[in-house]
Symmetry: C2
Subunit: 410 residues, 2 copies
C-alpha cells in the first residue's frame, strides 16, 4: 500500500466526460489498496475567463479580490470530481484550500507554507479519497490566496510532502518529458527518467511541462514525481533525485532546450573597474528584469571592454529605458540591442563528469556553421546564444549529435 498524490490539469478536467475519465483513473489507484489524494485544476479556459472578468472590472485590481475570484474554478472541479467518484462507489470527499493549505507571501503569487495534515490523515486512513482544489490556500489574515498560474503543480507537491506521500503523479496533456520539443524534432524521444536538476534546467529554458517551483520543492523534499498522460495508459517520465539502475544507461545529455524568449543587449566600452557590472545589473534587477546570460571579459591592456547580456524579449524596451537613465553611473559608449536571438542549451548530469560533452556541442555547431553570439555554462547545462534563424537547425543537429534521436518520429 502506498500513499499517492495524483494531480490533474485543466485539460483533463474540462467537462463532466473528462472528469469521469479522471475518476476512473483515481478509482483504479484506490482499488489497488493505495491511499489517494487528488489535486485538481480548474476546467481548461475557466481561469482565463475569471482573469478576464477581473481585468474588465479593474485594470489594476486588488490581488486579494483577484484571489477570491479565480480560486473558484478549482473549487468547482473538486466538488464535481468528489461526487463523480462517489457515484462510482468510491468513498471520496473534497477539502477546500482554506481548510488545510496555509499560504504566505503576496496574494496572487503566494507560497505554500504548511499543509494541515491531521484532517487528511483521518480521511485517508478511513479509506476515503481526498479531493483538493489546486492553486490555493489561506493566508495569515484568513483570506483566500492563490499560488500563481500553474500553481496546482506546486499544491500537489506541497500536499504530497506534507502528507509524506510515497510519490506524486502529475497527469497532463503530454505523456512525459521529451528530449526536446517534438515540434522542432519529430524524432524527439520520451525520457523514462530525468533528475530534478535536469528538469529544472529544461523547465527554465522552455519545457513547460511542470511549474519550476513545484520541481524545486520536490527536489528539496526528495519526493519522486511522475509526469503522465491523463488520456492514455503510458508509463510517463519519472523525475528523481539521482539516476540509478537501468536509468544510468540513459544518455549523458538528457535533452536539448530551445528558448526564443531572449533579447541581447550590448554596452560598449564599459570602464574596467570594480563595480561597473553591478552598476548595470543592479538597476535592471530593481526594475524586476531578469538578466540571464552575462558575458564580460576585460581585454588585457585595454581600459574598457564590452558587456553583453540577455533579458526576456518582452522586457527589452523597459531594460533600454532603465539603462539610458543609468548611463551616467555606468559610462558606456553605445547601447546596442538585438531581439532576433535565441538560446539553445544542452542539459544533462553527464556534464558534471564529462568535459568532452561541451566540446562536442561547440564542434557540432561549428561544423554546421552556426555562429555563437554568447556562451554560458552551469554545472549541468551549456547554453549558446544564436541567431533566431539558426535556432531550429541548432536543436536538430545537437539532438542527433548527442544520440537522442528516436528510431522513428514521435
Amino acid at each position: 500500500m502506498a500513499r499517492i498524490v495524483m494531480k490533474f490539469g485543466g485539460t483533463s478536467m474540462a467537462g463532466i466526460e473528462r472528469i469521469r475519465h479522471v475518476a476512473d483513473r483515481v478509482r483504479r489507484e484506490a482499488e489497488d489498496g493505495n491511499q489517494v489524494l487528488v489535486v485538481v485544476s480548474a476546467m481548461a479556459g475557466e481561469t482565463d475567463r475569471l482573469v478576464q472578468f477581473c481585468r474588465e472590472a479593474s485594470a489594476l485590481h486588488d490581488p486579494k479580490e483577484y484571489d477570491v475570484v479565480v480560486a473558484s474554478g478549482e473549487q468547482v472541479t473538486a466538488g464535481l470530481l468528489a461526487m463523480t467518484l462517489q457515484n462510482m462507489g468510491v468513498n471520496a470527499r473534497s477539502f477546500m484550500g482554506w481548510q488545510l493549505v496555509r499560504a504566505s507571501g503576496v496574494h496572487g503569487n503566494a507560497r505554500v507554507e504548511k499543509v494541515e495534515g491531521a484532517m487528511l490523515d483521518d480521511s485517508l486512513s478511513g479509506g476515503t479519497v481526498a479531493v483538493i482544489p489546486g492553486f490555493q490556500g489561506v493566508s495569515d489574515d484568513g483570506r483566500l490566496a492563490t499560488l500563481g498560474r500553474g500553481g496546482s503543480d506546486t499544491s500537489a507537491v506541497a500536499i504530497a510532502a506534507g502528507l509524506n506521500a510515497d510519490r506524486c503523479d502529475i497527469y497532463t496533456d503530454v505523456d512525459g518529458v521529451y528530449t526536446t520539443d517534438p515540434r522542432i524534432v519529430p524524432r524527439a524521444r520520451k525520457l523514462d527518467a530525468i533528475t530534478f536538476e535536469e528538469m529544472l534546467e529544461l523547465a527554465g529554458v522552455g519545457a513547460k511541462v511542470l511549474q519550476p517551483r513545484s520541481v524545486g520543492l520536490a527536489m528539496r523534499e526528495k519526493l519522486p514525481l511522475r509526469v503522465l498522460s491523463a488520456f492514455e495508459d503510458l508509463p510517463g517520465t519519472r523525475i528523481v533525485a539521482e539516476l540509478s539502475g537501468a536509468d544510468m544507461e540513459r544518455n549523458e545529455i538528457a535533452g536539448i532546450a530551445a528558448d526564443r524568449n531572449e533579447a541581447r543587449v550590448t554596452l560598449t566600452r564599459i570602464a574596467d573597474r570594480p563595480g561597473t557590472v553591478a552598476a548595470v545589473i543592479g538597476p535592471l534587477a530593481e526594475a524586476g528584469i531578469l538578466v540571464d546570460m552575462i558575458v564580460h571579459a576585460a581585454t588585457q591592456g585595454e581600459q574598457a571592454s564590452d558587456l553583453t547580456f540577455t533579458v526576456p524579449r518582452a522586457a527589452l524596451g523597459q531594460a533600454v529605458a532603465v539603462l539610458e537613465k543609468a548611463r551616467q553611473e555606468t559610462g558606456y559608449a553605445d547601447l546596442l540591442t538585438d531581439d532576433t536571438v535565441a538560446k539553445v542549451s544542452i542539459v544533462g548530469v553527464g556534464l558534471r563528469s564529462n568535459p568532452q560533452l561541451a566540446a562536442t556541442m561547440f564542434d557540432t555547431l561549428a561544423a554546421h556553421t552556426i555562429n555563437l553570439l554568447a556562451v554560458t555554462a552551469s554545472e549541468i547545462k551549456v547554453s549558446a546564444l544564436v541567431a533566431e534563424t539558426d535556432l531550429e537547425h541548432a536543436v536538430r543537429v545537437l539532438h542527433t549529435a548527442f544520440g537522442l534521436d528516436a528510431e522513428k518520429a514521435a
Copy 2:
C-alpha cells in the same frame, strides 16, 4: 448615518457592466455617510450552470459536494464587486461566507445560525464597504453549506439582523411589490408599503419577489426591508411591521394573489368520528406533501360526509398513491381528483377588523358567476378555490372591486 445592507440579485450582477452599475449604487450610499454591507447573488444563469454540472456528474449527488460547487458563483461576484468599488475609489473588501456565516441544518438547504459580526464591525467602523456572497455559510463540521435557492435574500436579512443594521434593501429586477401580477392585471399598482404578514401571505401564494424565509426572519427580527429596482431610481416598496402615518391610508386589502399550483382531492363519505381527518392528513404529511385548503363540515344527522382539500399540483399523483394505501384506516367511499383548479386570495391587514371585506369578495365573485369550489380564511387572507379557467377573471374583478386599479396601466 445609518448601517445598511444592500442585496443584489443575479440579474443585477450579470456581467461587469451591470456590476459597475451596482457599484455606483453602493458608492452613493457610502458617500452619504452610511455604513454599507452588500450581499450578492451569482451572475444570472451561473447557479443553473453549476447545478447542471452536478446533475451530469451524478443524478443523486452528495449535498456537501453540491454546496462546494454551487457556492462558487457568489464568491466570484463578491470579489468582482469589491474590486470594482475599489476602482471607483471606494474602500471595499469581500468576506467569504465561511469566514462569518455559521449555518446549520441540511446541506443544500441550510439555515443561518449566527453571523460573526466582530470582523465586519471593525471593517464597517473603518469606513470599508463589506461585500459578502449570499446563499452560503459554513456548517458545524467546517464545510461550505448553501441555504437553498433564493437563499441570498435570507443571507442579507440574517446579516442585517446580526449586524444590527437599520434596514435591508433588496435590489431586484422588479421595482417593488404589486397589488397583483401585472401580467394578469395591467393596471396593477406598486405598493408603497406592505406589512411582513401581508408579504408572507402574498409570497406564499405566488408573488415570488422575496424568498418567504427571508420575510419571516425580518418579521421576527423587526428589521425593515425595502424592495427596489436595481436598474431604476425609484422608491420601491417598504416592508414593515405595522403600517403607520400616511401608509394607514392605503387600501385595507393590499393585494390579490393568484396561484395555479393547486389540485383538489375529495374523499367521499368519510365516517364522522374523531380522528378521520387526521388519518387522511397524517400519511400525506409524512410523505412530505403539503396539504393546503381543507374543507370538512359534518352534515347534521348523517353518519358520514365528504372531505375536500388541495395539494400542490405536482404532488397529486403521489398523494393519490398515499391515500389509496391508507384506504383501510380512512374508510372513504370514492377518491375524486381535479387538477384544473386554482386559488384566488385577497390579502390585507384590513381583514382583521373589517368583516365586510370577505363579504365583498364573495359578492363580487357571485356577481360574475364565478363558482366557488372551496373557501378558506386566515387572519389576513381569504382564499377561494375556483376553476382554473375562471382564475384571471376572478383576479381582475376583485382587483377592481377593492379599489386597487391604478389610473393607467403599469
